[in-house]
């Protein structure tokens, strides 16, 4: 059962890569690059070759996973729903903190990042959370401003 799970993950990744590769080859690369010159490489040549390699290898990955016999070693599922929720939740949280940095300021955004991460990791003492989430960004801000003359 474990083998099937890893195999399924590879099939999904292979399919996504192959589809994305074809999209890039037939739509994005032609629209996002300029015309070729008379000598040397066309601007689209290198990205096109690389995307062909990615697409071909993705199809090969799919083929290998579909037709090859699995070995007896059980492979744990690399990703489950919890992992997907986690990673997208974390990235969403970081983008939110970027928005806070953009509209309020670096220190405010830093407080959001540190306090959120500490809370997620299970910090229980509100005093410790406040102390570290305020001290950290303030120390970073003033150290960088004082020593490197960079205003965040």
């Amino acid at each position: 059962m474990g083998c099937i799970i890893m195999k399924k993950a590879d099939l999904i990744v292979g399919s996504l890569l192959a589809i994305t590769g074809l999209l890039f080859l037939f739509y994005f690369i032609p629209n996002q690059t300029t015309e070729a010159e008379e000598y040397g490489l066309s601007p689209s040549f290198f990205p096109t070759v690389l995307m062909i390699i990615i697409t071909v290898m993705a199809v090969l990955l799919l083929a290998m996973r579909l037709w090859r016999h699995e070995d007896s070693e059980i492979q744990k599922a690399p990703l489950d729903k919890q992992n997907l929720f986690f990673i997208h939740g974390v990235c969403g949280f970081l983008f939110f903190s970027l928005a806070v940095m953009n509209y309020i300021g670096y220190i405010a955004g830093g407080i959001v990042v540190v306090s959120g991460a500490m809370f997620y990791l299970g910090a229980k003492s509100p005093i410790k959370i406040m102390l570290i989430s305020i001290t950290g960004p303030v120390v970073f801000y003033y150290s960088i401003r004082h020593f490197l003359n960079v205003i965040l």
Binding site: Y39, I53, N83, M101, G109, G110, G122
Partner: protein, 496 residues
């Protein structure tokens, strides 16, 4: 000769020595914490190096790398959990020796072995780099292009468990490096209308996102699980259990030399890595030992072999970087980024155009070993206390420092967003076993390869036979094809 002397004298200034010492201290500190590794912190602190001279910047980062290798063995010995993957072999004998009440002895053996291996490989680097660079200068654009193809093909198979996934990772890294302005026509390419992308995807955001943030996401996923059982350093231990005598050290001398040789050879080959070196050195030491039964039960020889082997890759890894401009591992790829940030093109021409800097770096490597010994010895007890600090406090501040480092570059939150996106990608790459190291090396080498391909075609009037007419280029292509055939043959044999 004057450039050599000037280079060495450049490093012997208080500022540069302090930077090396700071780098080593940070490296040991970070390497000791399971889940954090020196290349991650090197990536995070790369933006700080903008404000340093090129020599100070590279010395600082190389110091960090040296310290990181030893730091990984601290948690391996005290927690039975390596701080870095290359310190895993140190667990076999380090932890059992520590459980016998000889933790300080184990740590000191690790330190001395690390310095021994590192110094030897630095000397090899200094001796062979210039002659090999001289040979490499005879290589033209076709040879450079085919060399990169060969190097990426071999690395895709060494790094990671699947060759197919390795090639995908390498090609993806190279593809993302094409975003920005086309190098010949200076026209936007794959920028999707974002002006911020016209300079390309920021290399430091890529490094920090993939290396640091991706790994931190994986560490954070489990939450702050319970801490490890840590062995403490006790004062109430006889002196012979806290120190390494001259007799004990000389008893491991043959092992040290053998392990250093193995580490240097493996380090010089792109893609093989310090982890492989440590395990191969350990295996060789056990086979050659008069007391193989002691291995795995607290053998000093075992610790010496593992640590000399992995540290010997430190200087040797720079051989392909300085001579061919090809990074053999993540740290070398990071250094390419730093070279480029400071306006230096890494490769054989450095010995002609920036020889003073090169010899300054060589001096930094040697001075770094002396400082590493001093800092490691004096700070041993302090560094072991790091393991008492809870993850709850470290990881949030590390995430903030990643964001701050990128933001500092040009006050661009767009770049911080790019870093988060690379963190997302790094997370999936690690989970799905796509080699992020090959990805990073591909990203770094792509502009060099495209430039070499372009120059080759201009030289030949758009005739690709140039790659087949030049002997070195043809040989490299044949080697690549033979290597691919060997991979296909092996995978078919496995299926049968």
């Amino acid at each position: 000769m004057d450039q050599i002397l000037l280079g060495f004298s450049d490093i012997l200034t208080l500022v540069n020595i302090l930077y090396i010492a700071l780098g080593i201290s940070i490296g040991i500190f970070v390497g000791a914490i399971p889940g954090l590794a020196a290349p991650m912190v090197m990536a995070m602190l790369t933006p700080l190096t903008f404000y340093m001279s090129p020599l100070a910047a590279l010395s600082f980062l190389l110091g960090m790398l040296k310290g990181g290798y030893f730091g990984g063995s601290i948690s391996a010995i005290l927690l039975n959990t390596p701080g870095t993957p290359d310190a895993a072999a140190a667990c076999f004998d380090g932890y059992p020796l520590a459980k016998q009440g000889k933790a300080e002895k184990a740590l000191k053996m690790s330190l001395y072995s690390s310095i021994f291996g590192d110094t030897f490989s630095d000397i090899i680097l200094i001796v062979v780099a210039a002659p090999i660079a001289g040979i490499a200068l005879k290589m033209g654009p076709p040879e450079i292009a085919t060399l990169i193809i060969f190097a990426m093909t071999t690395m895709a198979s060494y790094l990671g468990t699947s060759f197919t996934k390795g090639i995908i990772a390498a090609a993806l890294g190279m593809f993302l490096a094409t975003v920005g302005l086309d190098p010949e026509l200076a026209q936007p390419r794959l920028t999707f209308g974002f002006i911020e992308l016209e300079d390309g995807l920021p290399i430091t955001a890529m490094f920090i996102g993939i290396l640091a943030l991706g790994e931190i996401f994986i560490q954070l996923e489990g939450g702050a699980k319970a801490g490890f059982e840590k062995i403490k350093l006790s004062k109430n231990v006889p002196k012979e259990d806290r120190t390494i005598s001259l007799k004990e050290f000389s008893g491991t001398f043959r092992t040290l030399v053998r392990s250093t040789g193995i580490g240097t050879l493996i380090g010089a080959l792109p893609g093989l890595g310090a982890t492989l070196a440590a395990f191969m050195a350990y295996g060789a030491a056990k086979r050659s030992s008069k007391h193989p039964e002691e291995f795995g039960h607290g053998s000093l020889e075992g610790i010496a072999a593992a640590e000399a082997g992995n540290n010997a890759t430190c200087g040797a890894n720079l051989i392909p970087l300085f001579t061919l401009g090809i990074p053999g591992n993540v740290a070398a790829a990071l250094l390419i980024g730093v070279f480029m940030i400071h306006g230096v093109s890494p490769g054989p021409l450095m010995f002609e155009q920036n020889s003073r800097l090169i010899y300054g770096i060589f001096g930094a490597l040697l001075v770094g070993n002396v400082l590493h010994l001093i800092i490691g010895y004096i700070g041993l007890k302090f560094y072991t206390k790091i393991l008492d600090v809870d993850k709850i406090y470290i990881y949030p501040l590390v995430v903030l420092s990643c964001m701050t480092g990128i933001y500092m570059e040009n006050n661009s939150l767009f770049n911080v967003g790019i870093m988060v996106a690379f963190g997302w990608l790094g997370y999936f790459m690690k989970k799905m076993d796509f080699s992020f190291i090959t990805f990073i090396i591909g990203f770094v080498l792509a502009p060099i390869m495209e430039h070499a391909l372009n120059q080759s075609l201009i030289m030949s009037g758009n005739n690709i036979s140039i790659f087949f007419k030049r002997p070195i280029s043809l040989s490299l292509l044949i080697l690549t094809i033979l290597y691919l055939c060997q991979i296909v043959y092996r995978s078919r044999k496995k299926v049968v």
